[in-house]
Symmetry: C2
Subunit: 223 residues, 2 copies
């Protein structure tokens, strides 16, 4: 198995989304050049990214849209249902429980956990809410692989430890702090403060960054 | 002005958060080694990151916590109020309008825009909702610098064009698609599908990634 570069992983959903729209519009075949133009990417980059999924485009005809969509979905394992726990049923957590489109990505919330006694025993968007101490036993019994953290920073490590104790394989961390887990547990941080920091600092450095991006694009073309 | 590496920008909020907690606990001085340990980072990395803010730690004593917090805030320009528009007052958009902590980062929503006639003319968390065609003139008049996109994919480019027409300087894009804007406009994509793709694919490749991470950590220590 090849190691997929993380930027490639992150671009694949964008290809997927674009390809789905093309399919809706009746497009059956597409070239990496067209995809690249539509998404403002370099076409060599697009070709390389798509190679990871195992689908080969043909010269002139390019890719079959349907086949490519399927290949990306399988590569990302989004065709497989994955049961998940959500820890922290506050504003963000509740919004996530109600977001139907996670199912499209295979993510299926089977239970949520919170410390608020008013929430425990109730349901949010039909997902039942439990106390945090139930996490390890329920995770093992239900064979839950993914834990989504939408707790405040101070509660993030405790929640992580309980998930790890339950044998969880991956943690999607929306809490505004880093968490620690054994190396074999995948941790994906998704903190808006990170991208806000990049946004606000780039506003100051924009001219310098334009130059840097220009250079890194040139490098991208060379490799 | 030095060009700040993007990973450095993205780590700074984590230092900030940790330092604020230390200050609350009465810690006045701190070393980069302690920060590194607490956040599971390499201490050389931490020192380098913090150098960008212009604050110098002293041998043995390290950094003054208060001074370092202030330096990071100023470096990220989070001490400056920045008026923002939010485009798309759906579930996510509404949650963002109600999220008080954006003010801590200088982000101040002054208006939101939606196509839903039932919302237009009303307020969400005291932020008034307007039709999208008002964006350019209002952005210019109010000197709004940041546009936050929480629209569906199909509406993202139209919204972006209107923001650009209004002279906006940065777009924080939560819509599940890329958008195009002139080079001088900072675009920061914040799509959960990106991190979900990384999460689910890493779950497959985890052993290979562990090896890769080990190697890149060694490199990190060497440079």
């Amino acid at each position: 198995m090849r190691i997929t570069p993380e930027p490639t992983m992150r671009r694949l959903p964008h290809y997927l989304h674009f390809l789905k729209r093309q399919l809706e519009n009746g497009v059956e075949k597409i070239s990496s050049t067209i995809i690249a133009q539509a998404l403002s990417l370099d076409s060599t980059q697009v070709r390389k990214d798509l190679e990871y999924t195992g689908v080969k485009g043909k010269p002139k005809t390019g890719f079959f849209v349907k086949e490519l969509i399927q290949a990306i979905l399988e590569f990302l394992t989004w065709t497989t249902r994955r049961d998940a726990f959500l820890i922290g049923a506050g504003n963000l957590g509740s919004a996530m429980l109600g977001y139907n489109r996670f199912r499209e990505y295979g993510l299926n919330f089977v239970a949520a956990f919170d410390t608020d006694e008013n929430k425990i025993g109730s349901e949010i968007y039909k997902v039942p809410i439990f106390t945090l101490d139930k996490i390890p036993s329920m995770a093992r019994r239900m064979n839950v692989q993914v834990g989504v953290l939408t707790v405040p920073a101070h509660a993030a490590q405790t929640a992580t430890d309980l998930l790890v104790e339950g044998g969880i394989k991956a943690i999607w961390n929306f809490a505004p702090t880093y968490v620690k887990a054994p190396k074999e547990v995948v941790i994906e941080n998704h903190q808006f403060t990170e991208s806000l920091a990049a946004l606000t600092r780039k506003m100051v450095e924009v001219d310098f960054h334009l130059e840097k991006y220009r250079l890194s694009n040139l490098e991208g073309n060379r490799t």
